[in-house]
Symmetry: C2
Subunit: 543 residues, 2 copies
């Protein structure tokens, strides 16, 4: 027998039309380069997005052609998220933190036809313009300045278009809507192409109560960039539920974010641990009498905060909780749309004490629905979920990539039975909490035993005098590899190697697991997406 | 270009395996016929469900074959929800409130191969056993009694099976998993067949924060029957999020439900308005000093309650809110999986007063994601969403039926462009709230003007002395049709026609809209699913 259900494809266009009909009065707020706020309704968003789609069709954009964006987080970027797919195109977000050479290479590899670029990012665009020739470049006058001669004005494009006469490009649910290149620290970046289907499914799953818990009465502050892993997919979820969004624009300094939080208090915010560390340090410093920022900020109690992109130290979770903000840690990759696991309060832990709650919150979390996750040992066998057995995380599901755009399938990235090999090493406990011990390449093998650099650096960051820390492997004649800790002290704090050794021994580390050396550094270098860039530390210290 | 995403089908089996892995320690509670509680873990649920699937495969169940259930709400019924599809079969829930003849006809039409039946329902089974011959009948020993000779024991079936060796039947996402016949008040019931895809999508959508808002820490009491519209799909959502479930078994009397609520306080409950009316009346009566039930019950403040299946009177919403329980009204049909709209607190109404909040809550609500909804006027044109223009609700989406099982597509049930014609008449306001004015067949046409029987009966039910009321059309020589109100008084209350007339005039009804007659009745007759059965009233009064 057959199902009697209608055959209706999943579609981003449905979410856009829904938002225009149901949420026309809700707000979208963008912070402009001059730090003023631009207010925008969902009704305007709907109309402008249809205008963009209509204009792209009139320009002859064909099904599946790429339109690149080089933009900060703001309302016009959101228009691209929905307007480019509405016209049948694929939105390709260029990562503005990459080198100009790399951006140019990526645009060329993706064969991007058009570009939408913030006027404040034109200097960056000019650095790679000779590497790839866009047919048209639309400048979004983000700063309010007149668009330079010879370039197209995004606002004029929209003003000339006909949103009412627009008709959506027909599509299947497997047709691509967006594209993002991985920020690999080795080798060339590789493109992942999300579909209507994968995007809608990811949006539905990530928005569920235990994860993002999105409700129409929420106010979301997405600090994670829309130019990398689609701001974790939050813009799609916010539009689906009609959630007020507050976009920070180019202003990501802790003081700026705290100002914005005071002006437009969010109920949900998302960012990477490094930015969140700076934010809580600036905020706590402002509480001191005599601080120049004393009384300037308030953190909204009850706000949830999604933090991911790198391991979240328990100390950071405790610090925010002191101010009534609960951090939900997530783990994922560009390849996984990206949400794979989220650490949320479980019914089984209802009676757990604070230490246990914090310990769980500092784990990568539990696989979300539609994500199959397994941990494969070196012998190729599935590891039991006993909280101890370690292996590589492999994942499978309808919003996980099974290949890369326009490159042959790489040996080693996928298993024979079709699972993605993530390169992350983890154990899973009986409640399903994933504990990432390391990136495969960040494990330290000392005398035949593995030492987790992530465990070590999280423990070091738990010391009250430490601002941040990264641990890398250094070659050792006797042991093969040994750990080295690069430590950033908090301002005005003094700290010696023996203090940290004693701290680590107190946390249960064995003597042989302690770092051989501590380097006192000013800051941990970051990748384009704000993660610790251990490669740079290895280049400096591990030779 | 093409998406790079994996091609992984949506599957109920994924949800079952997920629950077994992540939520093994959480509880499923079933109330037995003797009113004792049976406790069950998700781990046991997972193992028993796989055992059921394994046993069905060994019995030679083939892909797409139907296995019927004739069961109350309990853990074994939940095993059928997942175990029958796991084996490749289609779970067909028989509605035990229908007449034996009708049940037998439905089982024959669906060509059900096996039956799972509660022992306490064997007398009902025997009444229709001669109408359809099941190959095997498995008796679930719900009461704890020995299964009669000549019938198979469900527990023995599971005990003999091998849950560890079980392998899921391969499937596509469009393969059917469950089947439900509509309870049409006219004509033969018609079968709707849900697929893996439609069920997973409906589960994801309905579980979202603004609707069911399902979280792992919830405790759900599904009073709505699992034998009709799948208890609104809640069992699937609960398993997806690992939610504790409390099944009421056969005990649906208000006193029994209140006892169960005291024993296992839910955070979320679901039921039809008529049962909820009885529940709040029994509870409020128990508050009076001297009541025989004084002090017997408590209602858990903060509980959410999903109420649907028929219009929810504003008076009922206010009554529950007095005790800290918020009612979320939903609207849908067997044909729509069933959730189509839900009335939830909207950001735009943050500053609304109580009257406005109650007024909105008494509407059918806002279309959920993936449901396209339009209102077609008599001229075939889409009505504007202005809160006034009325027409037939038509819906479309991936969890809405596009045909019926094994019958030719009925002219008039679907539009030429593939939308389901619901037969419900409504307006939609600018915020997207659907206001159902009537079933097409329940509208009263008086002198060329429509009178809404739903509006009238809701207003009558708002009178403090009224327990419940139903309004029907009676033929009238002069006006064509006129309204007649059938009213049930609360115990010990006296009430006259002029009291209700005055009450209605005070609510803004025009004089010509008032009922011509009031009939004082003992109870409003109910359909098998607890809705007002106006057909019966018409038979009695409208001739």
């Amino acid at each position: 027998m057959q199902t009697t259900m209608m055959d209706v494809p999943l579609s981003l266009n449905h979410l856009l039309e829904r938002a225009g009909r149901l949420f026309a009065g809700n707000e979208i707020v963008s912070r402009l380069p001059d730090k003023s706020l631009r207010r925008h309704t969902y009704g305007e968003f709907h109309r402008r997005t249809r205008a963009l789609a209509s204009a792209l069709q009139r320009l002859g954009l064909k099904k599946g052609e790429r339109v690149a964006t080089l933009c900060w987080n703001h309302h016009a970027h959101l228009e691209c998220y929905f307007g480019i797919p509405a016209a049948g195109g694929v939105m390709h977000t260029l990562n503005l933190r990459l080198s100009a050479d790399e951006i140019g290479w990526i645009a060329g590899h993706a064969q991007d036809r058009f570009l939408v670029v913030d006027d404040v990012l034109l200097p960056l665009y000019r650095q790679f313009a000779q590497l790839h020739s866009f047919e048209r470049v639309f400048v979004f006058p983000f700063s309010g300045q007149t668009v330079p001669d010879g370039l197209d004005d995004y606002e004029a494009l929209l003003a000339d278009a006909d949103p009412d006469g627009f008709e959506y490009a027909p599509h299947d649910e497997d047709d691509p809507v967006a594209m993002c290149y991985t920020s690999g620290t080795t080798g060339r970046p590789k493109g992942v192409a999300y579909s209507h289907r994968s995007t809608v499914l990811h949006t539905l799953v990530a928005s569920l109560g235990d994860f993002w818990g999105l409700r129409g009465t929420d106010v979301v502050l997405p600090v994670t960039p829309m130019f990398h892993a689609n701001s974790w997919g939050m813009p799609y979820g916010a539009v689906m539920m009609g959630v007020k969004m507050v976009f920070p624009g180019p202003h990501l300094h802790p003081d700026d974010l705290l100002d914005l939080i005071r002006q437009e208090p969010p109920t949900l915010s998302l960012g990477v641990p490094t930015i969140w560390m700076g934010l809580i340090q600036a905020y706590e410093a402002s509480l001191a009498e005599g601080s120049p920022n004393h009384g300037r900020w308030t953190l909204p109690r009850g706000m949830r905060s999604l933090v991911g992109g790198a391991a979240v130290p328990e100390a950071l979770i405790r610090a925010f909780d002191r101010h009534g903000i609960w951090i939900l840690q997530g783990w994922g990759m560009t390849e996984t749309s990206p949400v794979c696991t989220i650490s949320y309060p479980r019914a089984e832990l209802r009676d757990a004490d604070d230490d246990e709650r914090y310990r769980r919150a500092a784990l990568a979390g539990v696989p979300v629905p539609l994500v199959d996750l397994r941990v494969r040992g070196e012998d190729g066998a599935d590891q039991p979920w006993d909280g101890r057995s370690v292996g590589e995380i492999q994942v499978r599901g309808p919003f996980i990539t099974g290949s890369y755009h326009a490159v042959p399938v790489e040996a080693g990235k996928f298993t024979g039975d079709g699972w993605l090999r993530t390169g992350d090493v983890a154990s899973v406990d009986p409640l399903g909490f994933v504990r990432i011990t390391d990136r495969t390449k960040d494990l330290i093998k000392s005398g035949g035993e593995w030492i987790s650099s992530v465990d070590l650096e999280n423990a070091v960051m738990g010391h009250p005098a430490v601002a941040e820390a990264a641990v890398i492997a250094i070659p050792d004649a006797k042991w093969g590899e040994r750990p080295l800790a690069c430590v950033v002290k908090k301002p005005g704090q003094s700290l010696a190697a023996q203090d940290l050794d004693a701290h680590l021994l107190g946390k249960g580390f064995a003597k042989w697991q302690l770092p051989d050396r501590y380097e006192w550094i000013d800051a941990v270098p970051r990748t384009s997406t704000g993660k610790f860039w251990k490669l740079k530390l290895r280049e400096k210290y591990a030779r």
